[in-house]
Amino acid sequence: MTKVKICGLKSEEDIEIINKHKPDYVGFVFAESPRRIDFNKAKSLKLILDKNILSVGVFVNENMENIIKLFDEGIIEIAQLHGNEDIDYIKKLKEKTNNNLLIIKAIEIKENINNFNEYDDVIDYLLLDSGKGSGNTFNWRLIKNIKKPLFLAGGLNSDNIKEAINQIKPFAVDISSGVETNGYKDNDKIKKIIEVEKLSRGRYGKYGGQYAPETLMNELIDLEEQYEHYKNDPEFIKELDELLKEYAGRPSLLYYAERMTKDLGGAKVYFKREDLNHTGSHKINNVLLQALLAKKMGKTRLIAETGAGQHGVATATAAALLGMECEVFMGEEDTVRQALNVYRMELLGAKVHTVTNGTKTLKDAVNDTFREWADRFYDTHYIVGSAMGPHPYPMIVRDAQTVISKEMKEQILEKEGKLPNAVIACVGGGSNAMGSFYHFLDDEDIKLIGCEGGGKGADTPLNAATMSIGKIGILHGMKSIFCQEEYGQISSVYSISAGLDYPGVGPEHANLREIGRAEYYSITDDEAVNAFEYLSKMEGIIPAIESAHAVAHAIKLAPTMDKDEIIVVCLSGRGDKDVASIAKYKGVDLNE
């Protein structure tokens, strides 16, 4: 959630308005400005300010002792420096306040600026503005490679703030003249800003959101709050890290596919071996995080939808590990083609519900899991399995999976001394792909490629190629791209892969495509099965049929690239579960 700072408060009336709307920060200006106040005024305002709101002192080349005095007397918690304060000055200020005073360094944006990271070692936050509170917006495109949490300032108001939040995703927005009328803070404008910020939650461009029944809204809001709390809780982080390491087997290997590389005769191909995780896929990364979170939230029962069964198996596993009840909803058609996983879940102590509604696949399993959750949420957490659904799910699941690209980046740098040229992953809802893309998003030269289930072909009725043929819609709590008929009825989709057999895609992917940051291709059943066999024979790795879609694209792409270029493919899961259905696809009868 983006934080809000309202700057330039100067009267008791201002504080009254602030206390009503509760932004996260307020700013007291001690520099030359129409909004300047003195020490005593600030002290009296701080006394009546809501205790949960942090105050920021705004300074230009101020005598250091004055700042320290304001801090020592509890009038400010943060100093925002707009002048020529250099690294030494900031270091000294930090030392003299035992590192307890937080520092925001403000930088004025000029066209030629390209280093935003000069102060990173000594500051806590960075603030970008068009001038010293000039009230004008600047060219947001100039913002890049920011490492510190960012306060975005300069000409923000209720009309452009949504765009600013969605486009820049700053840590906080800083508003002053945008909430004033005739030089005074305006109650209605502040109220509007706070509302707009709330409405921007969980948006990826125009996609995402929280299109959920009212019955579940408090539960979703609580989930977001608890997640925001625990993700910064050192004990939670430690516990999760330990599970990922000791139980799931992280870090997963980054494997150089030498034979395949030679055979294709182009770019070097590496595989991120998520198939080697416990339970055999990337799903465990997300499930461990959510199951642990659910337990902290006091829930005793986990429910989940599953397509191929990988997410169901992972959820059943986490439930067994943490001593929780587990029920999994699976489309009837999928229980047939992934019968082994059904038995696996039952073996792990889960109850599997066969979903006979609608298309009898993943889409309807999601519907029934939401229905179950709406009926019983007081003791139950719904572990959504992909980077989809209502906010905060796309964010939580993505965050859980970013470990994939974090490791990829470290490992490829270690092995090759440089970053890859392309990262490829399969996309159903898109969690392994979001996890694979995330830490490369800012490296704009790296191609990010998602592969979806093309079934018999995107030009036939039998496919799950959402990005190729879908259009904007709202389903399962999110605005995104969906395969649908003219009147908005959701299409039945088809893919040989139960995990990609979904008529939608996660909202962040919809946005990545829209802004041109990632490309999406549909891979047909035939191509995927060929890749499944190819990788088995070439490298001795049987990939999940889902992951084989990404492999198929690598097979096409590698020969078109130079030998010193690198492709990393996320091998999201292992293929044991698919062996029977691929045999059937090839006309082999295993029961003979």
Binding site: K198, L199, R201, G209, Q210, Y211, A212, P213, E214, T215, L216, M217, N218, E219, N357, G358, K363, D364, N367, F370, R371, A374, D375, R376, F377, I472, G473, I474, L475, H476, G477, F482, Q484, E486, Y487, G488, Q489, I490
Partner: protein
């Protein structure tokens, strides 16, 4: 006074729900008129959808029956056009938002206005996402009706103070469907609503018997029945007119 307010002016309103096009176009017109004639003060018209997330099995089946008859949104408007030739009963849509988005918000609400449809209830459009249609609907004089659930708690006042038309109070957790007992303390919820607004409240989810309707009438301005009506159509198919009329009359009498 908007047409919705008219539904509440004469004692407790009895509000019936029916999925448009169930079991087919002709019968659907007939059934809506039957309901109006035998005592429904307001009728909620469901637009069939493949993925009705908040519905239990009974209404899910109705959606399927209508979709199997190839009913689309234009057919739904056709049905209502026929209804309007014979009845001025207040009508609101109950629809998931995707069919409306696909139809085009402007075109959809302009048609609503033409056919004097007074409101829209979208179960997948909570307060936080109301912006999606609020302005366009208002411009065409259509009320966006808010839902309040047993789990809404501190959200009640926020939602109620912004509500228009009437407030749909969801009686129970979970999805629509017939329930033997309503366990939620509705009085507490409705009292809280009353602290901030005077617009009518109507309670739905799980109500099927005259006894339940009578009890709910004591605390609420309206009683909403969906699954029990839809079940009659499911059971009797094309011959549901008589049992439907009998049931609606019985329920309306219980509300008086």
């Amino acid at each position: 006074m908007s047409n919705i307010a008219n539904a509440f002016k004469d004692g407790t309103a009895f509000i019936g729900f029916v999925t448009a096009g169930d079991p087919n176009k002709e019968k659907s017109i007939q059934y809506i008129l039957d309901m109006a004639e035998s005592g429904c003060d307001l009728i909620e018209i469901g637009i069939p959808f493949t993925d009705p997330l908040a519905e239990g099995p009974v209404i899910q089946q109705a959606n399927l029956r209508a979709l199997e008859s190839n009913i689309n949104t234009d057919d739904v408007f056709d049905i209502l056009e026929e209804v309007r030739k014979k009845s001025d009963v207040p009508l609101v849509f109950l629809t998931y938002i995707n069919p409306v988005l696909a139809y085009g918000y402007e075109k959809f609400f302009s048609k609503c206005n033409d056919l004097e449809i007074d409101g829209i209830i979208a179960p997948d459009l909570p307060f936080e996402e109301k912006d999606e249609i609020d302005e366009i609907a208002k411009n065409h004089g259509i009320d966006v009706i808010s839902l309040i659930a047993p789990s809404s708690k501190e959200r009640i006042q926020m939602i109620a103070s912004d509500a228009t038309g009437f407030i749909y109070v969801v009686s129970s957790l979970g999805v629509t469907g017939i329930r033997n007992e309503i366990e939620t303390d509705l009085e507490v919820i409705i009292d809280e609503i009353r602290n901030v607004t005077d617009i009518p409240t109507a309670v739905g989810f799980g109500i099927s018997t005259p006894e339940q309707a009578r009890d709910i009438s004591k605390v609420s301005d309206g009683v909403i029945v969906g699954s029990a009506i839809v079940k009659i159509i499911g059971d009797y198919g094309e011959n549901a007119s008589e049992p439907l009329k009998k049931y609606v009359k019985e329920m309306k009498d219980a509300c008086r």
